[in-house]
Symmetry: C2
Subunit: 332 residues, 2 copies
């Protein structure tokens, strides 16, 4: 997601308010991505970690812990953990998708090779588990190992659902919970757990992260068909890769016989021709699925904001609430 | 490794003595490789898990726990954990090596595809961590997450050391500790830890697993150049893949100028011609490196047997000692 449309965005305010902690997180990441024996590991990792991502996930963990009154030191470990898990999944995703670009730079599998991306990803997963073991909290370990399983399951589900016109909205939500929301919700939840907060607050933080992740991913999928984004992301990647995202699932559900034949040819059988993307966009418009998908994203953003109610009042709670609005701003 | 040369092999005796526990391990593996949402996961996993491996690693954990007087139930969880980690690394290795055969059957990446192997491997790693979290032992979690990091680091090191004639014996031992010995030693160590045994016993179990794994891998690497194996493993795979294993590292170290040019052409530059494998075998024979590698493997097997001294007397301790001899029997 590109988050640089306004002067002071919520994640920038979070980043500023948590700058000391984020410095500690970055130092810990650098220390733990080192490998005495295999210099390829820090090379590949640095390429991704220093690519200027927005570090949304570690910010979520640090903010949740701070709002809940936690004073360290393990919020830093957990923030580095979620960033390592995220980086590991990016490395593996690029192999799975055969991507050659990420955030406008060549991917690791292009600069090095697929074996390096697979194995360095495995190394980062293992490092993430080492970091969370250091917190000494079995509950945190349970949350993050469950999240890791949900992520992998969602990715496999996406793989098998691709090209399948029978994919339902229910499956779509399972996929995006896995690929995006599971790590968001684990990131916020562990912040409350490490602070020793009551169950309703921990649950609220989970619900916030879950809804935020879902809104985030729906927006991403919507912008793949255009939306109102001006940041230059290529339109139509998901169509070309024959992924079934919400606007298409809804258009397929509403399709008449000839439209159905179009989706069958382009998505199920992959026989795409010049002009097909434009025809797909016309079908989405005809059935209003861009608009209804947009409404669904706005609904999840509103749920994220509302979920924060039981969370203690704190300036950073407002930043998290604003982040929910910001995530859908690109389509508003 | 092929372990079917004798009537009653040590791992078969272990398997018999631990048949009830192994049944519980197999049931747990089947339960945990299930995925409600993504049927591709149990399909791929079953292909590997039910391929008739010898289950050496879970047997090591169960035996170590039993010898130390542990009566359950978490030995079963830990045995399933090490088997899941092993299976995950096999899935990723086959992608990395572009293998199409394992144990005489087509690999998962051939039957399905690389994305499935990468993502199902990730799922099994996550499931392994969930299983070990259930034991509630932070020390066990530390041991197994360290092992996972060592495994990945060893695999990356192997990747970067391949084709490099400057690879030393020191690097070789780091690679094989990672790719093989780290999971063996973790498997035996956690058996002692879960039983709450004294440090010297835990250390002895670690040392046994470490030495056993090293002996095991050296034998495997030796048999790749022939040895005395009659089980039909293709000779020369490592030569063709330009991997620097112990017999070659020692032959390169002893090479004269023209021999050096041969290794440079065939391994470093990969310009292999008909007759090169035979020439490589002649060079290994000329410098006696098959023989010296054999002696090194026997030495590590003896170390494994000797390491068991502080471990409590128990019929299964003798089976573990015999397993050390058995591992090197194919080259004796």
């Amino acid at each position: 997601m590109s988050l640089d449309a306004r002067a002071t965005k919520p994640h920038e305010r979070l980043s500023e308010a948590l700058s000391a902690e984020m410095e500690a997180v970055n130092a810990l990441i650098r220390a733990r991505m080192a490998s005495e024996h295999a210099p390829r590991i820090p090379e590949v990792t640095a390429h991704l970690v220093e690519a200027g991502g927005k570090r949304i996930r570690p910010l979520l963990t640090l903010a949740a812990a701070r709002i809940c009154g936690y004073e360290g030191p393990y919020d830093v470990h957990l923030a580095a953990t979620v960033e390592f898990i995220h980086t590991a999944t990016l490395l593996h995703d690029d192999v799975v998708d055969e991507s050659d670009q990420r955030r406008g730079r060549p991917t690791a599998n292009l600069l090095w090779d697929n074996p390096s991306s697979v194995l360095v990803g495995d190394y980062l997963f293992a490092r993430a588990f080492q970091l969370m073991v250091e917190t000494g909290s079995l509950r945190v370990l349970g949350i993050l190992s469950n999240a890791a399983a949900t992520i992998a399951e969602g990715e496999v589900l996406q793989l098998t659902a691709a090209r399948n016109l029978a994919t339902t909205e229910e499956t779509y939500f399972k996929v995006i919970r896995g690929k995006t929301a599971a790590l968001f919700s684990a990131a916020t939840e562990v912040g409350g757990v490490i602070a020793g907060r009551e169950e309703n607050v921990v649950q609220a933080l989970f619900d916030y992260g879950d809804a935020l992740g879902i809104a985030f991913q729906i927006v991403d999928d919507l912008l793949d068909y255009g939306g109102t984004d001006a940041t230059g992301k290529d339109v139509g990647d998901d169509f070309r890769e024959r992924k079934l995202t919400l606007p298409v699932i809804r258009a397929v559900a509403a399709a008449d016989e000839s439209e159905r034949a179009f989706w069958d040819r382009t998505i199920a059988r992959g026989r795409q021709e010049e002009g097909d993307l434009e025809e797909a966009l016309r079908l989405l418009a005809r059935h209003g699925t861009m608009e209804s998908t947009r409404a669904t994203a706005l609904d999840w953003a509103a749920r994220a904001r509302a979920a924060l109610k039981p969370v203690p009042a704190h300036p950073m709670r407002e930043m998290l609430a604003d982040l929910a609005d910001f995530v859908v701003e690109r389509i508003s």
